[in-house]
Every structure is written in structure tokens, then in C-alpha cells.
């Protein structure tokens, strides 16, 4: 059983073969640029997930104009094939993938296994040199809101049990034992989950080397054990919307659930709502 859309994934070996070819661009997306600055795949530009991909004043994804400026400034054209990779098992790269799709970038892919897999392969190199790419005029498409779940939709889904809601956080966050992962500041008032959500932690989707599990294994995890009905729409959420991008990618592109959305407001929005019940 192949992935529903195998074309959105490339392996590290493919990236090594295709570095520097015309029309192929590499972008590293990380939680911050510390790792990128220390070393990255030759030719890759670095995007900071928080500063470059989110509007800090509106607590929103960056605007269409900002997206055009970001990509144009990095010399990326709408016709380029963009390969995204990053730290933390590609969470932030998956968020980047989601954003690229929202603004209609046609050819965007994830490097399977992310930064860590490349780092651990002897035949792959890193550089500290930052590439220069001449800026271009990038024109984005109007945002595809169909990929993004908003609060009202999530509240409706919770009551109706439709769409399916998938909580991708750790079990302790889902059951309300903790509000945020150990060491993280608690950015919600309450601990627990959205009523009706099933728990499938994001990490169940990957093997030890960070690559996605096979389509058969993913179907077993999400559809059979997780009880997600692939014929219904589905919404993934986590704490701040990056782990859920990873699961959204799995549901939509690897398992082929056409109507899959990422709820980027996630628990930091839902967990703070007044007079809206949660479950533990």
C-alpha cells in the first residue's frame, strides 16, 4: 500500500543528488535559527518558525504579502520545487509545508527524517555558509482556508463528533495530568482535551530515525486503533499548532484524507476559553 501522495516526500539521498539543480530549493525551518547558524545543508536558506512564519502582533499566520516578501527575498519562485526540512522531527518544517500549501505553492516537499537524519549520515555534509539567492517577485495565491480549522468549527466538531478531532499531544497532556510538556511554560488555564477528541500522539507516526512509518502502519495507527473515519473530515490539534502540522501532513498526504485541517489555535486557544467545557 503506497502513500496517497508519495510525491510530497523526498529522501535525504535524493536531496544530496539534487542540491543546486535549477528549480530546486532547500529551506530549513526550525524553532529558532541556532542550529541553522551552526550548520545546514549546502544551499539551504533558514526560516525561523516563530519570527518568519507567524505574525506576532495578530497571533496569526503571516499575511499573503509577508509570505510573498519572505519567499521573494529568499529568491524562491512560485514554479520552484521547495524541499523543507528541520529540527524536532520536521515539526516546524511540516508547519512550513502547511503554510506553503495555504498560499498555494504548487511543488513543496518534506525531506523524510528531517535535519537529524541528514546529520547522522556520514556521506552528507553541512556548511556554515549562508547562500545568496537573488530576490525575485513572488506572487502567492489567496489563502486556502480549507486547510485551517478555526475555533467555531472546532467547537461544532466537538459537539457533533464530526469532523473527527485528533489530539496529537502526549498522553499526559491529553488526560490532563500536565498542561504543557515538562520544562515548558504553561500557556493554558486548564489541562485536558477537547471533548470528543481521540488521542494519537504525533510520535506514533515516525520510526526511530524520524522517517514516517509505512502507509500500512499509519492506517493501523490512525484508522484502526485511533478510530478515525477516513470518510469524514478530520481536524488535528496540539498545544501550539506545530506537532499537529506533522499529523495533518500524515492524515492528508500519506493516508489521503482529503478534508484534513490543522487547528493552529490548538490547546493554547481552546484551553483558555471561558464557559466552554473540556474533558480530562
Amino acid at each position: 500500500m503506497p502513500y496517497a501522495h508519495p510525491e510530497v516526500l523526498v529522501e535525504t539521498d535524493w536531496v544530496k543528488e539534487n542540491i543546486g539543480k535549477p528549480g530546486i530549493r532547500l529551506v530549513e525551518v526550525d524553532v529558532d535559527l541556532q542550529a541553522y547558524d551552526a550548520g545546514h545543508i549546502p544551499g539551504a536558506v533558514g526560516f525561523n518558525w516563530q519570527k518568519d512564519l507567524q505574525d506576532q502582533l495578530t497571533r496569526d499566520i503571516i499575511s499573503r504579502a509577508a509570505f510573498e516578501k519572505l519567499l521573494g527575498g529568499a529568491g524562491i519562485s512560485p514554479s520552484d520545487t521547495v524541499v523543507l526540512y528541520g529540527d524536532n522531527n520536521n515539526w516546524f518544517a511540516a508547519y512550513g509545508f502547511w503554510l506553503f500549501k495555504i498560499y498555494g505553492h504548487e511543488n513543496v516537499k518534506l525531506m523524510n527524517g528531517g535535519r537529524q537524519k541528514w546529520l547522522n549520515e556520514q556521506d552528507k555534509t553541512f556548511t556554515k555558509d549562508k547562500p545568496y539567492h537573488s530576490p525575485v517577485l513572488y506572487t502567492a495565491k489567496p489563502p486556502n482556508e480549507g486547510l485551517r480549522a478555526r475555533l467555531s468549527e472546532v467547537i461544532g466538531a466537538s459537539g457533533e463528533r464530526n469532523p473527527n478531532l485528533v489530539d496529537v499531544r502526549s498522553n499526559d497532556e491529553y488526560t490532563g495530568k500536565i498542561i504543557a510538556p515538562p520544562g515548558m511554560s504553561e500557556t493554558a488555564q486548564r489541562a485536558g482535551h477537547i471533548p470528543g477528541a481521540v488521542s494519537v500522539p504525533w510520535s506514533t507516526a515516525v520510526d526511530k530515525d524520524g522517517r514516517f512509518k509505512s502507509a500500512e502502519e499509519l492506517a493501523e495507527i490512525y484508522l484502526k486503533k485511533g478510530g478515525i473515519d477516513s470518510k469524514k473530515p478530520v481536524i488535528a490539534y496540539c498545544r501550539i499548532g506545530e506537532r499537529s502540522s506533522h499529523t495533518w501532513f500524515v492524515l492528508k498526504y500519506l493516508l489521503g484524507i482529503e478534508n484534513a485541517k490543522n487547528y493552529d489555535g490548538s490547546w493554547t486557544e481552546y484551553g483558555n476559553l471561558v464557559a466552554v467545557p473540556i474533558e480530562k
Partner: protein
């Protein structure tokens, strides 16, 4: 004058590093749970020249790199560390002429970061992972150190204490033989904490080789702990040196007890121990309560001074409280 352990005269600080001829001291516990049936001895690793058990692994790994010619042409070291290995490497580097870059997690005590800077190490502080994957604690520092070594191979080589067999060998060659000699072969129980697992694996392999009946008890903090340098077995994926077959029992101790036992050690034994030592003591006292007989040795990894801020955070009344 020539190097002499009896007169304590040395040509170079490196000669002071511990081995069977120059063991770190062992001191008996007297007022905290002293029994004739199960005396407990603390092996004071903070008496090593750079202040911790990590002096042993650091020297072993560095010597190995020297022998393999990996440190020629001005190349230095880059290493992920919760502090002690970095301090040992930086001090050895200072004595032997190698630059050192240390990559530490943000939660490492400020004292350790300051000591590394004082020693001239270049320091990277890595923000604690946003949503860490179970079993991958420490992944950020290891990956950043690997990145430096990969991006600048002419400048850095990474010893990698989490995977380097020299870390285990150092304890097989020094800690194990020292304990065997110091106890005249009478040791029955070894109590040790888990971090990279070099100490437990190397020491256990030596002692069990001499006497398979020696029981090795690993003491680990409960999950969610914040004790620098220690790992719960749920966080041990990062280390390839963990060998469960060399450990008889793993005892989990509520991590809050580490500070309680530090106070006990300081106030009732005059032992200026750090929090990991406090945890190891608690594990040994529990074995004593459970009826263990023989002779117990506890490895106390490091001393108090680097943890003043840590202790003050957990124990009321240590620093002057602000008045509101």
C-alpha cells in the same frame, strides 16, 4: 622533584587524575544510617582535580583522540554536556592546549555555565525543547554539537560521551579497580546514578568480573525531575552505553528527596555533596532498610558548590528571602 602520589607533588595537573595508585577517597557514612551489618562508603568524586566523576571519562576520551591523531592542526573539541564533562574537558584542554566548545541545555545551573566561561570554553546554550519527544531529552544539545563537528570538521572533533566506549573503559580501568582495592575485595553492593551510563557500565563490568555476586543498584530520579546530569531510564535513548545486563536493580527515588539528602549529608556528615549524591544516598539507605548485608559503596558524582542556586530554588531559607 618528581611526580609522587605520597608527597602529592606533580609535574602537571593531568597527573593528578585518579587511578588505582591515586584513588578518589572513600569515606564511611557514620550518623546517617550507620549499621555494622551494612556499612556504607561514599566515593567522593568531587575530590578529582576538576571536581567530578567526569574527569575520568574526559581524560579517557581525550587520550584516545590524541592517540588517533584527531587533535592535530589546532583542532579542538565540541561536546554536549550538562556541565561536568564540559568542565573536565575545558580544564584538560587548558592544560594540554586544546580549545573546547561546550553545548549545554538552558536548565543547567548558572554556576556551571559561568565556570565553563571562566575556563575559556566557547558556550552554546540550547533552549529546552518546545515539546520534547519521550526518550529524547538532551537531543538538542547532542544535535547541535554534532552540527558543529559536521559543519567545521577542521575545527572540531566530538568525543560524544553518550556513545564513546572510552567513557565506559575509563571506569573499567580506574573506578572499578580503585573500589576493589579500597574495599579489599569486600564490596557487596554498588550504588550509582545514571547519566551517560559510562560509570555504571564500566565499574559494574570490572567489579562483576572480580566477583559476580556484587550487586549493582542504579538509582534514578522520578520522571519530570530537574536534577542536572541525571537521567530516568525513560530518557536513556540518547545513550548507547546503557547495558541493563550489568545492573541488578533500578531503584526510582522521588527526585525531591535529592535536596533533602544533600542537607542531611552536609549537616550530619560534613560531606559537601551535590544533588545526585543525595539521590544515591537515598537509594543506599533504602537497601539498608530492606535488609541488605555486606559492604556498600556509593559513587558520589560531584560536590555542592555548583548547585547553590539549585538547592536554594528547592529549599526554603537558604538565601535571604525578599520582603514583600
Amino acid at each position: 622533584m618528581v611526580m609522587n602520589h605520597d608527597t602529592r607533588v606533580y609535574d602537571n595537573i593531568v597527573e593528578m587524575l585518579p587511578d588505582e595508585a591515586n584513588p578518589s577517597p572513600m569515606v564511611r557514612i557514620n550518623r546517617l544510617g550507620a549499621t555494622s551489618g551494612f556499612p556504607l562508603y561514599a566515593k567522593l568524586e568531587w575530590m578529582n582535580p576538576f571536581g567530578s566523576v567526569k574527569d575520568r571519562a574526559a581524560l579517557g576520551m581525550l587520550r584516545d583522540l590524541q592517540h588517533r591523531g584527531a587533535l592535530r592542526n589546532g583542532r579542538g573539541l565540541v561536546e554536549p554536556t550538562s556541565g561536568n564533562t564540559g568542565i573536565s574537558l575545558a580544564a584538560l584542554g587548558a592544560a594540554l592546549g586544546y580549545p573546547v566548545r561546550a553545548v549545554v541545555p538552558e536548565r543547567v545551573p548558572e554556576e556551571k555555565k559561568a565556570i565553563l566561561r571562566i575556563l575559556g570554553a566557547e558556550l552554546d546554550v540550547v533552549a529546552d525543547a518546545l515539546c520534547p519527544m519521550p526518550g529524547q531529552t538532551g537531543g538538542g544539545t547532542i544535535n547541535l554539537a554534532k552540527t558543529h563537528a559536521k559543519a567545521q570538521p577542521d575545527r572540531y572533533v566530538m568525543p560524544n560521551q553518550y556513545e564513546n566506549p572510552e567513557n565506559v573503559l575509563a571506569h573499567f580501568r580506574t573506578t572499578g579497580p580503585e573500589i576493589w582495592r579500597q574495599t579489599e575485595g569486600k564490596i557487596t553492593h554498588l550504588f550509582v546514578s545514571l547519566g551517560t551510563c559510562g560509570t555504571v557500565s564500566g565499574t559494574s563490568r570490572f567489579l562483576k568480573g572480580r566477583n559476580p555476586a556484587v550487586k549493582v543498584i542504579a538509582v534514578q530520579p522520578s520522571e519530570g525531575h530537574d536534577i542536572p546530569g541525571l537521567r530516568n531510564t525513560s530518557e536513556l535513548d540518547v545513550s548507547t552505553l546503557f547495558d541493563r545486563t550489568l545492573i541488578d536493580d533500578i531503584v526510582e527515588i522521588p527526585y525531591e528527596l535529592a535536596c533533602v539528602r544533600v542537607l542531611d549529608l552536609c549537616r550530619r556528615e560534613g560531606l559537601l555533596a551535590g544533588p545526585s549524591s543525595g539521590l544515591v544516598l537515598e537509594g543506599a539507605l533504602r537497601a539498608q532498610t530492606d535488609g541488605a548485608r555486606g559492604l556498600g559503596v556509593m559513587i558520589f558524582p560531584d560536590g555542592l558548590f555548583k548547585y547553590v542556586g539549585y538547592i536554594a530554588k528547592h529549599v526554603k531559607g537558604i538565601t535571604e528571602e525578599a520582603l514583600f
